[in-house]
């Protein structure tokens, strides 16, 4: 198909497709004349993946390119590819030096050991988590850290379920896409679900009078 059909099949405007081609997010088509190229189903699929990462996952162009390069690198294992996808979507946090930081780092290390997670210290989320723990402590929100273990078991169950779905797929390409989308869109999915359940929990806890039939009906 020509670029116009690629545009109508994906809903992505032609100038935007050309921009993605220049940025290396989409492989060039097969040239059929000096001014024309042909695109195939693989381009449709890749274009949708690019849009998902940019629009829904809120990744930058540079991070999207990084993930796509990892997807396309020959011989990259699924485990290795997941690491690249994770790095691309995790903000880099500089390690702190003070006592508060060291205490937070210790708490994170203990959580990981107690949970038996086999993770490399180079996983960028280690530093992110340390920063969050240090912030909660600094702001006197230690009681919110009491439920850290509850967060940890929720994350454990979700990751196991996700990886099981992806591992159950027969096509390697589809496994790779699933791992990337699970990482990139899974955060957004969980955040959206937390917004909804927070509203529900807050509603139940703070706006309800003693539970009478009448109050319930007005809720």
């Amino acid at each position: 198909m020509r670029i116009g059909e690629l545009s109508s099949r994906t809903g992505v405007p032609v100038p935007t497709i050309k921009y993605y081609l220049r940025e290396g997010l989409l492989p060039v088509g097969e040239r059929t004349s000096p001014n024309q190229a042909q695109y195939g189903d693989a381009h449709v699929r890749r274009l949708k993946l690019v849009r998902a990462m940019l629009d829904v996952g809120k990744l930058s162009i540079a991070s999207t390119r990084e993930v796509l390069n990892a997807i396309d690198a020959p011989g990259n294992t699924l485990h290795g590819m997941l690491g690249v996808a994770q790095s691309a979507v995790t903000a880099k946090v500089p390690a702190g030096e003070d006592t508060a930081w060291k205490e937070a780092d210790q708490l994170v290390a203990e959580l990981i050991e107690h949970r038996g997670w086999r993770v490399k210290p180079s996983n960028p989320a280690w530093l992110t988590l340390t920063q969050i723990v240090a912030t909660f402590k600094d702001l006197g929100q230690e009681d919110l850290l009491d439920i850290l273990d509850e967060y940890a078991s929720a994350a454990e169950r979700l990751s196991a379920a996700e990886v099981a779905v992806v591992a159950g797929r027969s096509e390697p390409d589809s496994q790779v896409e699933g791992a990337v989308l699970g990482t990139v869109l899974g955060d957004a999915l969980m955040a959206a679900l937390r917004r909804l359940t927070q509203e529900d929990a807050s509603h139940r806890s703070f706006t309800e009078a003693a539970p009478t039939e009448g109050a319930e009906a007005a809720g």
Copy 2:
């Protein structure tokens, strides 16, 4: 204390504090002479909260101001304030019109009904969730939606635990701060934990040979 001590007690440089004052993120100090103002413990606390929202929660200056205005508005209920905090940290997604969008919206509505969540259709996360579901379907990742219910129960448990912690606090100011930080930093916390558990789950699933003692030791 003077602005210099406020800076040394919080680690925030003086020019940055002045910037926050101009942007209305920090209330002005009590003027003691034409060129000097005095700051108190409330300023220390507020400054730390501002830094947490900007640096750890990755909120914009405008969103941070929106949340702070809600915190400071007299007569705002905790439930109402949580709604403002949620709006400020949730990207606005335009509603779609096509069949795929309507199907996704239907699926989200069914999930909410089946779960018994009392949420307003105006909760911005409804649209975000619809967009994510539509994207998963469009990319042929329906099998990842099979675990949507697992995500939903995880979110339910976390929100209930968070709200219980916050509701258990005796000071209203501290309840408000907890609700805001739980929303703003909770996303980042969950994302970081998912990165770690994903690495662990991927390690277990994709890199391990048949479980022999030797392979285990090399893991």
